[in-house]
């Protein structure tokens, strides 16, 4: 809370810090994920990782219950692009969904409220702040790759994490599992 109050005064400085952050390695996780270079939503996927959206919504966006309460499913969401942008920027008052826009509820009103109006409904502050372009990018990524998708697949998982971790193995279908030794031997030869 203390930190947030300092923001208006230090806006310029922070902006440069934030810019600097973008060129630094973010969380190790997801950084190696390489979608095809032509995918215009790659930037959004990087934001999804950097802002730790996966911390609650999971890499696949399905969210779910558990210790963290109930992060909504982005696969089943009916929010529009604009609504997603608002939810990311302003958070969702009264829930655990944080706000990621610098100055939200201070310099910029959210849902018509400042911090005082929001009171106990004030959403938590995200672990990183995102610039408007980043927020648009992550919304585009959610729309293109997550919203409306069915059950998570192996291909989707590998596209997110690359294949350096065993995190995706559980999504392999029977045909993709290492039991098919003949297939891999054949390839090797």
């Amino acid at each position: 809370m203390m930190i947030v109050n300092r923001f208006p005064a230090a806006g310029v400085l922070l902006a440069s810090v934030v810019t600097l952050n973008f060129s630094m390695p973010g969380p190790a996780y997801g950084q190696s994920a390489q979608a095809p270079a032509s995918d215009p939503t790659n930037a959004g996927k990087a934001v999804f990782s950097r802002a730790n959206c996966a911390g609650c919504h999971k890499w696949h966006g399905n969210g779910g219950g558990g210790y963290g309460g109930d992060a909504l499913s982005l696969r089943k969401t009916e929010l529009t692009r604009d609504q997603i942008i608002e939810a990311v920027g302003c958070g969702r008052p009264g829930t655990g969904m944080p706000f990621f826009m610098r100055g939200a509820y201070d310099e910029v009103k959210c849902h018509g409220m400042n911090r005082q109006d929001a009171g106990a409904q004030m959403p938590p502050e995200g672990g990183t702040f995102l610039r408007p372009k980043d927020i648009e990018a992550v919304a585009d990524y959610v729309i293109a790759h997550i919203k409306g998708a069915g059950e998570p697949t192996y291909a989707e998982c590998v596209a997110f994490f690359s294949n350096t971790s065993r995190v995706c193995d559980v999504y392999k279908t029977q045909a993709q599992k290492p039991g098919d030794a003949t297939v891999s031997t054949g390839k090797g030869q």
Partner: protein
Amino acid sequence: MERFSGHTKMLTRACRLAVAVAAASVVGALPVSAADQVNQERLLNVDKEPGNWLHHHQNYSAHRFSTLKEINRDNVKNLKVAWTMHLGGIEGGGIWSHGGLEGTPIAENGFLYVTDGWGSVYKIDAHGGRGVLVWKMDPKTDRDWAGAVACCGVDNRGVALWGDLVISHTLDGRLIATNKETGQVAWQRTVADPDKGEVITGAPLIVKNMAITGVAGAEYGIRGWLAATDLTTQKEVWRTHTIPGKGEPGSETWKDSNNAAAAGGGSTWVTGTYDPATDTIIWGIGNPGPDWDNAYRPGDNLYTDSSLALDATTGKIKWHYQHTPNDPYDYDSVAENVLVDVPGPSGPRKLALEADRNGFAYAIDRTNGKFVWGLPFVKKVTWTKGLDPESGKPIEYDPNKAVQTYIASVTPSRTNMETDICPGNMGGKNWPPTAYNPDLKLWYIPVIESCNRIKVEVMTPDKLKPREFWTGGGPSQPFRITGSVTAIDVTTGKIATKMETPFPNLGGMLATPDLVFTGQPSGEVHALDAKSLQKLWEFNTGGGVNAPPMTFTVDGKQYIAILVGLGGAWDKWFIDSTPELKKIQPGSMLYVFAL
């Protein structure tokens, strides 16, 4: 020249290694006798080497009591930082933005062995009043794989020693044996499977050439187990599931038609204890799953929420004592069982003490699993009026009911979908260990004085998916949570003293003849008077204390050591109950104190 000398050095090192390997195989064939070889004799007689700390819980009985008294109530005010060491392992992975430190250092002959959250093992030379890193073994844990199904943080609670090996676990399910001298991995074995939601956070318990491994994952639909690995053959000796298979005794306590038992939880992620007199391992068993929808799994759900006694040689279950049948609260009984002998009306009483997440402290006769006494150790309990004085079961427990409601107005259920419980689901006490002073017969509990709010989600079999939460709801934190150190007089089964603290106790306890050491997640390490619990010394580490203190000697001098780095479940799931802790930064640091 540079290159040449480097080459020579490499060759020399290779030769040395070859000699070391040859020597090791010769030693391996001989009876273990060297002073720095850990064997069963030494593990059974740790009181003969008070300057070392050889067990995770200090001794097989989990006393976490040291007889060292160079640091005592008269001089503890002069305790100062002797040295510190920055460790690693705070990187994120899976659903976690960072790791933390929950381990207990092991000390042997002036060397410390500690772990970070991702399971790297550090050997530190503590001679000469400073710490020097001898080696670090990085197991290269698959962070995304394991971190995505670690319910409660990137945690590793430490190592054990055996022969010339350091035995450790990794979050991604491995048991690793590292050569104590070289830091090279001697062998490793996969014990748990993160594809099934299984991860390992606890330290191994070594009994008779076996490493006993417990598992975490009751929030991810696992069927819990304990596994014993032979440290010579590297093969599994036994694996005992904590939830009986179809037709086995106890399977009748899963009365549903959903096959709930197959994903029924019952994890074992806190290191247990061992009673050599009866060759019995006693281990705490975690909650049933789904955590908060107990109508999904009617019946008592054995052996969840129980203290379980197993034959150490075979893994066969000897007895159990269940604390919260058909648990609707997530009240694990995963805590360590502290083995104590106290005078009783007809000779010495052999007890197993357990401070349960449900807010009650229990003494069980460890020869037969019968209830002796129990009492609330937290200030506020709302889910039951108390324990039946004969059976120790919650008074409202009705063995004829398939779904327990206890005090129904506060109990999460399908007809009470949002409700507040005290203690909160993180418990009156979580994994941070207690300590026991056998001279004073006082048992010190690190307490979370808590309530929280539970929202129930009705579960159906189609919601059970690999590597996804299987909790039947979730907690939120609308109430401030504080803490205490609560001392129980084991001879009477009554609270002797309570020292309240502004924050929950997330680190655990160390007892010495006239002192108790502990810490706070806001950064302070405390020394308290063993009887009055009056604070005698305090040092602010500037990090969050999330691990228990221990003590050892080197060069004849006593030190207190503690790992500092707030991680675990608290700062992701429970932080709203302690808003001041939001400013505590992730960290990874070993503090060592001396006079």
